[in-house]
């Protein structure tokens, strides 16, 4: 008697595994796909292809080596490269057909990761980082605008960076 559910196959081979992984990670994967492909239709295609490939290769997934999230992102990265190639060979852009560079995609992944971490930050922390770091505004000015002492803005920058570190760790980022 063959019991599919309890077979010795890999840790990601059952349809139920896919459903669980989808509810846990589809938002992030889709967000990155939209950011790197710039098109929601293509992003949907990429996410679908990612889960189908993951399911087909489920035997090879080993949670001892890395997290499911990291594995799914690695597959999505390849899918995005494939989609980029498919787009590059369309007749209109075939001339000068350059291989899509891998570097910008890794940069996009890093950027997306940082932006996602920022989104998960509390509003107070995100606000001071945006004003002081990204907009380069003086701490005193930001403090007046927020109606808090300048020291509070500085401490929020500190606790904000700490919170970012925790969020990045939760997301599986390793430095």
């Amino acid at each position: 008697m063959i019991q599919l559910g309890t077979s010795t196959r890999g840790a990601f081979s059952r349809e139920r595994d896919v459903r669980e992984a989808y509810s846990a990670h589809s938002g992030e994967l889709y967000g990155f796909a939209v950011r790197s492909l710039g098109d929601s239709g293509l992003a949907e295609e990429a996410v679908q292809e990612t889960f189908v490939r993951a399911w087909r290769a489920g035997d090879r997934f080993d949670p001892k080596i890395g997290s499911l999230r990291t594995w799914l992102f690695a597959i999505l990265r390849n899918v995005v490269i494939d989609l980029g190639r498919a787009r590059a060979v369309r007749p209109s852009v075939a001339e000068g057909g350059v291989e899509p560079a891998v570097e910008p995609l890794d940069e996009a992944l890093q950027a997306w990761q940082m932006e996602e971490a920022m989104r998960r930050l509390g509003e107070d922390h995100r606000r001071v980082l945006v004003e002081t770091y990204y907009r380069g505004r003086p701490y005193a000015e930001v403090a007046t605008e927020l109606g808090v002492p300048e020291g509070t803005v500085k401490s929020r920058v500190y606790y904000g960076l700490r919170a970012l570190r925790v969020v990045l760790e939760e997301m599986g980022y390793e430095d």
């Binding site: 295609e45 679908q48 189908v52």
Partner: protein, 227 residues
């Protein structure tokens, strides 16, 4: 030794320091404290990689992230369920095929089984798994032919060509004549078989021809079909 409170005051400046925002006395004071405080040095070192990552992000994108449409999950589940079913079907066919080409006794049993499985409509011969040899890397074509009273049913599955590719299929008869079996379009992520049919009997079929627009692939049918 530093007291805890003293450390805390300096510590709350570490973020601004990691971003290079501290100046003058405040900066000099913190640096002097760091000099004698391994705990605060360690904390600063922990913030450094985060500070280095900040420039990668685009603050215009800190708003709510786009969400996948609600039906995407169902679509993926359906695609995977269809492929799982297809795999299972293929495994069953392989099992029956193996029996049919086994010993004489097994063949007799298989013939009965096949009549049962395929409804007895055809000439009693087994379904044929077709092999496409010399396919370019990345392209996959799988076909199974089933005999019927009306001719041959073709289950065909293509992977690795661009999404949207129009595929045309023919069966080739003993004298080289082509019998159209139909067309289908390959879509990325769609893993169902295309089911086509042709009037040519499986016993008279010598080859399956698949035209993907850019290339044509031919799979000869083995001697088993001519027997």
């Amino acid at each position: 030794m530093k007291t805890r409170n003293e450390c805390r005051e300096w510590r709350e400046l570490l973020g601004a320091h990691a971003l290079g925002h501290l100046e003058g006395d405040e900066r000099a004071g913190l640096e002097a404290h760091l000099e004698g405080c391994p705990g605060c040095r360690e904390e600063l070192a922990a913030l450094a990689p985060v500070a280095r990552m900040l420039p990668h992000a685009d603050p215009a994108r800190f708003g709510p992230a786009p969400q996948p449409p609600p039906e995407l999950g169902q679509r993926i589940a359906a695609t995977i369920a269809a492929e799982a079913e297809r795999n299972e079907r293929r495994q069953r066919r392989r099992l029956f095929g193996g029996l049919a080409f086994g010993g004489a006794a097994a063949a007799a049993v298989a013939a009965v089984l096949l009549l049962f499985v395929f409804g007895g409509g055809g000439s009693g011969e087994p379904a044929q798994q077709v092999r496409f040899a010399d396919l370019p890397k990345g392209i996959n074509i799988d076909a199974t032919l089933e005999p019927h009273a009306y001719g041959t049913e073709i289950h065909i599955y293509v992977r690795g060509v661009p999404s949207g590719t129009l595929c045309k299929v023919w069966l080739r008869g003993p004298k080289g004549a082509s019998y159209p079996a139909g067309t289908f379009r390959y879509r990325w992520g769609d893993d169902s078989d295309a089911v086509l049919s042709s009037a040519l009997d499986l016993s008279r079929t010598r080859a399956v021809v698949v035209d993907t627009g850019k290339r044509t692939f031919v799979a000869p049918i083995g001697s088993a079909a001519t027997a």
